[in-house]
Amino acid sequence: MIPIFISLVFESTFYMDSKRASRKLGYGFSTQHQEISLTDFVVNAKKELEAVPVFDPWRHIAVEKKVKRFLDNESQEDAANNEKSYSKEYKKTLQKHLQEAGFYRSKIDGDFGKGTRAAIIDWQKSIKKNETGYLTKKQIKALNQTYGGFLGHGYPREMQNLHLYDLSTSDLRYPTSIKLAVNHLKEMDSERDRLRELQAEDKISEAEVYRLWWKKYNSFTWWRDTQTRSIDVVYGDTPTFNRFWHFWINYFPISVDAVEAELFGNYYLTIRKNMASSFSELLYDATWHPAMQEYLSNGESTGPNSRRARDIKKNREKKIAAINENLARELLELFTLTPAAGYTQDDVNGTAYVLTGWGQVWNDDVKEGYFDDYRHEPGAHKVLGKKYRGKPKDKLKALCIDLALHPMTARHVANKLSVHFISDSPPEEAIQFIENIYNQSSGDLVQVHQAVVDAVIKYGDNYTKFLQPELWFFNVHKAIDGGLPLKFLGQSDDWGHEQTNNILYELGHLNSRTPQPNGWSDLAVDWLTPEMMDRRVRYIIQLIPKIEYKLKFDPDQYAVKFFGKNSIEAKDVKDTSSYTSACLKIFCHPKFMRT
């Protein structure tokens, strides 16, 4: 007998009310949450989905700032006095860290002379502190944590450097147009090249490259994107809308391993903009967007009879004028039909021909839907028996419309939505319910999303869904009403390596690092492992100081709210004397980890 992974159907110990619905179609609730009837919940949720709300998460930041004020009161005199007690070895370590930070250039001798003093002053300047030349204990901690604790752990470099620099003056606005995004990207690219060249000529050190780059462009855009999504989830008032937005971000995933970070913001906004349009428009916009073009390497795909191909021949370039079928294949396999539709290699090729000419966005006059027919394969291209011809730029739109209206696409979208919102093995009626509305409305996303709300209420009560790490994280912070690790404020004195991206990475689910083009898994079997469960326990313990003293979260009250007034669980939390244990009994409870 071959043992297979056991998939379980849980007893229905839940019933559907607005609290449970708010977890299935949002991110849960805090102690202050006002209970409403299920009917009202459904009305509100559907209303939320009718139009795209303005995305302005920054207005919430003021709230975070208030919580985070913290002063370093150590005087220069105290700092100088403390320094006297440091051993030579300890001083060497500090010099080493100042060197790694790109400020100290003299010998590591444990002697705090002129060079060290100047390096300390430069470093203090870079973090906008008083330039005393003497390190306070807080500053030493920061220096050690950054350069002592972080290097050598194999982190992405940006994680090591981020909190040394002040982000408060960064331009953290979303690039609302593709032109802004691409121009920003090009500007940053040329600065990188300039610094890299200086490094290659041995004029500056590697550390200096980072320092100078950060000084000028002190933001990491995909960090901003995770941060802002988190802020909007925890403080915003459109949870159901956000759940669908995040669903589609993962449906059309991109990864920082292959896509410039600067493109993320505009890509996410482009997906968001389509939340009240149709699937075909969403599909079209996600496909032509430079982020996706770059992720699935379509940009240089060349039609064998294009003008580009002629030039290759004419100039005898050592290149082959041909297509790259990467994006074309995923467009059929992951975004629309799925292999079950039985398309052929010819269909993939036809799609790839349609896609030639997209993705070359590096010109100065780049605009929405940018297209360059220099590489485009002229003529008609056949996909699923239909020929796409006419104006080169219009072929993709026509193809996207046909693919979106294909019954296999309706089935695929309905299935993905059901798996995400209802169950790893959703009931057939639920899938069909969504599929029918999709077909009737020609993929109108408002109607499809509203159908999901109905399906969750109608079919969801007998099914539980295990929360992916990001969702669990959002549910926890929603419950405690804040406490997000928002390191990018920069001016805060709270130096720990607490940062949303870092925490989500540790929890195993940093959205912008999608391992493969099929996105993060929706299935419990991919998340339910000892290591991942251990991290949830550890994260709650790490959160305790913050939630106990800063947020004054009351586990007893929350347990009553969450589990019910007379529940065994609420009683158990009440009977627990340790604050940490009480919190573990809420946030690591199987009922909290599922919806």
């Binding site: 071959i2 082959i320 396999e333 290699q345 290591e531 469960m533 994260y539």
Partner: protein, 376 residues
């Protein structure tokens, strides 16, 4: 145009091990060790072990054509960056198989990876993996040093995983409380059992090299794990694949170094070890329009270690002439990869052919063994 992130982390390398399963102390355990290397994305066999004797190769490839490949047997060559493997081949400790694959021609990563991991002929037909089932049949438990446990290892009764974290460990009492709370939950019950008691320490969040050294050290112990699994991403070289230099060449160099260090750290036990690669498919024989290659069918496979009957390239070469290619574009599969894996599993786990056929490859009976492993 080469556009890459300025600051790029290197993640995506996972690794796991299998130890004798304490639940079955009486099972006849072998002393042999196996390292499975998953090459995700689809390895370009024609760039790794280029068939230098096939005159069509240089006609259908330009930018991705590998120059300076070293000759292996008069027909096949080896990529110049696979220095360690070439030496091992000459010493009789490494062998290659060419024009091999799973019998899957759909060219989808996800279906292809599912098939290479489950060992089934249909994607998503089973939820367990062929290595997991082989370990289970032989009485091993596994520990994956990765976040999700890769499908190829699932199907083992005692699964665990480990990956270094910067979160501080919880106290014994807290683990006990949570464990108690999870006891009545059939999915969560027992999850923390190994976590709270394990002693193993990884050297921080390591590079591939560190992880493999760590793996070798653990596998080196007398009672240590018998199976290791290493995942390497990035073989999906659609654009700017490179040739003897470039992205693909760098990946091969990394792989070569990893295996070299693995050998060093295995010490004398390397004699009882086999390393074998697994990939979802090969790539198109032709170069595409972005100086890369697209999804194809057959690829090449690497076998190394003391257990390997080395210095041979096993192949029934189908040829690169257009009419010999699958659908005019892909290298044809002439050796079913399962035949090779069956031989490896038979040697390492000491399993009967019937057990392998029934449990590991779900009814598939290998056509023949190719003599790639030493007779013990």
């Amino acid at each position: 145009m080469k556009r890459r992130n300025f600051l790029k982390g290197s993640l995506g390398t996972l690794y796991m091990m299998a130890s004798p399963n304490m639940a079955f102390p009486d099972v006849n355990l072998t002393e042999k060790r196996m390292l499975v290397v998953l090459l995700r994305g689809g390895l370009d066999g024609l760039a790794t072990i280029p068939p230098l004797g096939d005159k069509h190769l240089s006609k259908i490839r330009k930018d991705v054509l590998v120059q300076g490949a070293n000759d292996l047997d008069g027909f096949f060559g080896i990529h110049p960056n696979l220095k360690f493997l070439e030496k091992e081949y000459q010493k009789g400790n490494a062998a290659f198989v060419h024009a091999t694959s799973f019998p899957y021609t759909g060219r989808s990563h996800f279906d292809g990876q599912n098939i290479m991991e489950t060992g089934s002929e249909q994607a998503y037909a089973v939820t367990s993996g062929w290595v997991g089932r082989a370990m289970n049949a032989a009485g091993f438990s596994s520990l994956a040093v990765s976040l999700p446990i890769p499908i190829i290892l699932r199907g083992n009764e005692v699964n665990s995983n480990y990956f270094p974290t910067t979160f501080a460990k919880a106290t014994k009492n807290h683990y006990a409380e949570v464990e108690k709370m999870w006891q009545s939950d059939s999915q969560l019950n027992g999850m923390l059992k190994n976590i709270s008691s394990r002693k193993m320490m990884l050297p921080g969040r390591g590079s591939t090299q560190e992880l493999v050294s760590f793996a070798a050290k653990e596998m080196h112990k007398p009672n240590g794990p018998r199976v290791g699994l290493l995942e390497i991403d990035g073989f999906d070289t659609h654009a700017l694949q490179g040739n003897e230099q470039g992205d693909h060449a760098e990946l091969l160099e990394d792989l070569d170094n990893v295996l070299k260090n693995f050998k060093r750290d295995m010490g004398p036990l390397y004699e009882d070890t086999v390393i074998v690669t697994v990939t979802e498919f090969g790539r198109t024989a032709f170069e595409n329009g972005t100086r890369g290659t697209d999804h194809g069918w057959a690829s090449s496979m690497i076998l190394a270690g003391g257990l390997v009957e080395g210095k041979q390239v096993v192949s029934d070469w189908p040829g690169l002439e257009k009419r010999n290619l699958f659908e005019d574009r892909d290298l044809k599969m002439t050796i079913d990869a399962r035949d090779i894996y069956a031989e490896v599993v038979k040697t390492v786990f000491d399993l009967d052919d019937d057990v392998i056929s029934e449990h590991v490859f779900l009814g598939y009976k290998p056509e023949k063994y190719h003599g790639l492993l030493k007779k013990s």
